[in-house]
């Protein structure tokens, strides 16, 4: 009987079964950043341990780095301290650090793939839940906490149980102005924010096959928002073409062997999954979150739900969200006024995300509405350089976007890019929890890059299909 990709990759990395019944799993690639690593390095130093495989460990700085000036020392002294800890630890243990001083930095889940570090068939972990992004390459990639970072540093392994696998098939062709972000939000809407708990998600079907690697990354990135520990897409020729020639991709005879190995880890045609869910591409419309978790979403011409008639828990969830977001039940989301627009993050901070925004700006000669503050934050120095090469930084700036240096920026409240008061933000990021974007009363609406671009121009949420 055939195996799915999860089983093939998991089984290939099992070192042994532990007395608890969990497995000791070898980690192929360990990505670290400045927020979740300092305590882990402290813990291994305390126990007088070394880093087991420094050559399989790579660091970058993304959460706390300012996106205005990245010159040192950083204005925030804690940010500077965290940066210095990472520099010291990287130096001490011989870990490659993609640092701003070398012009190599970026969001960890943008940097890994663009350097060719992320490859099919690997196990990949990082102290950040959006590590699921790397599953786009057919890897098992998942987020871990600081104590697990300690274990990976010291042993290059983790204790883990086996997940169940849910295959999500989306066939057909997406409608115009509907993209990977909408697909991700649609799935979370249908399956729930905890629908994936205990599962790895295998995304498959016509739509995934049609996606480029960056779109696949957007989809896998959001797996965790649906509760899944990881999400992946079977590698194919697009995967191999993306990797060829990148810094850490193999070359020559090694390349040929690698491609053969990579093709072999795809789910077999007679593989089985714990369950299978199917969706139709044509049912997916541009999506917008209205509430305070990524599952509280509607399509753009939809309305905030009504609490009456629903079970108590569901009713309370709607009322709480409406109260926080300043929305009424049954209110249309179209026309919702915004104060801030943000294009960036590990979800939508790559070249093709900005291509979508720039195409829209140029087609309609858009200018950011004078009531809106709009930020365009490239996901890495490499993405930034590619935008500049194409003159797109100038297009974005001329349209009224504040074009920034790379970092996590306004996705989360750990650098100076924050909402103020109860500002409403149209955002390409991945979480709309209360207070997520830096103000305890700030409001977030998640959507795709083209939807954020149009919202920035109109000062309110509009339907991308009308443009």
């Amino acid at each position: 009987m055939g195996k799915n990709l999860y089983s093939k990759v998991f089984d290939a990395h099992v070192v042994r079964t532990l007395p608890s019944g969990q497995y000791q799993i070898l980690i192929g690639l360990h990505l670290i950043h400045e927020v979740t690593s300092p305590q882990a390095f402290e813990m291994i130093a305390d126990r007088k341990l070394n880093v087991a495989f420094p050559g399989r460990t790579f660091a970058t700085v993304d959460h706390i780095i300012p996106t205005s000036s990245q010159s040192r020392p950083f204005a925030d002294h804690v940010a500077e301290e965290m940066m210095q800890h990472l520099e010291r630890n990287a130096r001490r243990y011989g870990i490659r650090f993609f640092s701003p001083d070398k012009g190599e930095n970026g969001i960890v889940h943008v940097v890994g793939p663009e350097r060719g570090l992320t490859q099919p068939g690997m196990t990949i972990c990082c102290g950040d839940s959006h590590t699921s992004t790397h599953g786009a390459f057919g890897a098992l990639a998942f987020g871990i906490g600081t104590s697990q970072i300690r274990d990976v540093l010291a042993t290059q392994t983790l204790s883990m149980g086996r997940l169940k696998v849910r295959k999500i098939v989306i066939n057909g062709q997406l409608n115009r102005a509907v993209g990977a972000k909408d697909v991700a939000l649609y799935i979370i809407n249908k399956l729930g924010v905890n629908g994936g708990v205990g599962y790895a998600y295998e995304f498959s079907g016509d739509v995934c096959a049609s996606f480029n690697m960056e779109e696949r990354m957007t989809l896998c990135n959001m797996s965790i928002e649906g509760g899944a520990r990881c999400g992946y897409i079977n590698p194919d020729q697009k995967t191999f073409d993306y990797l060829k020639g990148r810094e850490f991709a193999p070359t020559g005879a090694a390349w040929d062997c690698a491609v053969r190995d990579w093709a072999a880890i795809c789910s077999d045609s007679d593989a089985t999954w714990d369950d299978v869910v199917a969706f139709n591409a044509k049912d997916i419309e541009p999506m917008v979150t209205w509430g305070i978790n990524p599952g509280q979403s509607v399509n753009v011409n939809g309305k905030v739900p009504v609490a009456a008639g629903l079970p108590q828990e569901a009713a309370k969830a709607i009322l709480d969200a409406c109260s926080y977001m300043g929305l009424k039940e049954n209110e249309a989301i179209l026309g919702r006024k915004i104060d801030v627009a943000f294009i960036g993050s590990c979800t939508n901070g790559r070249l093709t995300d900005f291509a979508e925004a720039v195409a829209c700006i140029q087609k309609h000669n858009l200018k950011v509405n004078k009531s809106v503050h709009a930020l365009a934050v490239p996901g890495s120095v490499s993405v930034r350089d590619q935008l500049v090469e194409r003159g797109w930084d100038k297009v974005l700036a001329a349209a009224g976007f504040d074009f920034r240096e790379p970092g996590c920026s306004m996705c989360l409240a750990m650098n100076p890019d924050k909402l103020v008061g109860n500002q409403v933000c149209a955002s390409t990021s991945n979480r709309n929890f209360k207070g997520r974007q830096g103000s305890p009363s700030g409001r977030t609406h998640l959507m795709s890059p083209v939807m954020v671009t149009l919202a920035a121009a109109h000062g309110c949420i509009v339907d991308a299909r009308d443009f």
Binding site: S20, Q24, F53, D128, G143, S147, R150, F433
Partner: protein, 203 residues
């Protein structure tokens, strides 16, 4: 050497009623700007607490009746959101030693395990009953028995669920995993050699 086994946790309970309580609420992101975990206990649920105080209400973590609680009782999908260990660390450093809930986000569950905090599940009706009991009788002692998988409160028993792997780790004290994983070092080296990308592809 500290006793790492977790067989039975006994203490006062703290009911926290809400579903989908995410890590940004458990510990606001501004408190992740730190190189140590010390002091996080002071800031647990800070924004929620401030908001309720502002409205003239009292968050359970501010309620003097629950000030000595060791066992947190929650609802569905507790700890969803980030993989940041700062969330369980903040809860632990406030004084909580175990969490009973309808369900937990997976990474959160794993992070609690890594720091020796059992997360056990119970049915929604039993959680509701426990939370009501604690509201009415904050001094009721709660005893969570990991071995027997039971909760005893106010002379009534409830069933506690915990996956067998996690349960073993708590009972044996092997949740502090580094030493055990280090024992596999020779096998790890051999496994690494068997994976092509570990050897042939690294520049």
């Amino acid at each position: 050497m500290a006793d790492l086994t977790r067989t039975c946790i006994t203490g006062y309970g703290l009911p926290l009623k809400d579903n989908d309580v995410d890590t940004d609420r458990i510990i606001p992101a501004r408190y992740l700007m730190t190189v140590v975990f010390d002091g996080l206990g002071d800031h647990v649920f800070e924004d929620d607490r401030r908001q309720l105080t502002h409205e003239g209400k009292c968050h359970p973590f501010d309620d003097p009746r629950f000030r000595k609680a060791k066992i947190l009782v929650v609802n569905k999908n507790f700890g969803c959101g980030s993989s940041r260990e700062h969330a369980p660390q903040a809860i632990m450093r406030w004084g909580i030693e175990a969490i009973i809930g309808e369900s937990f986000a997976e990474i959160f569950f794993g992070n609690c395990l890594m720091i020796g905090i059992p997360c056990v599940t119970a049915k929604d009706t039993e959680i509701a009953a426990l939370q009501e009991l604690l509201e009415a009788k904050p001094d009721a002692e709660v005893c969570l028995n990991i071995e027997a998988q039971t909760i005893l409160a106010d002379r009534k028993y409830y069933t506690a669920g915990i996956p067998s792997g996690a349960r073993s780790q708590f009972l044996e004290g092997t949740w502090d995993s580094t030493a055990e994983l280090l024992e596999g070092a020779t096998l790890v080296a051999a496994k690494a050699k068997s994976l092509s990308y570990f050897c042939g592809y690294i520049k």
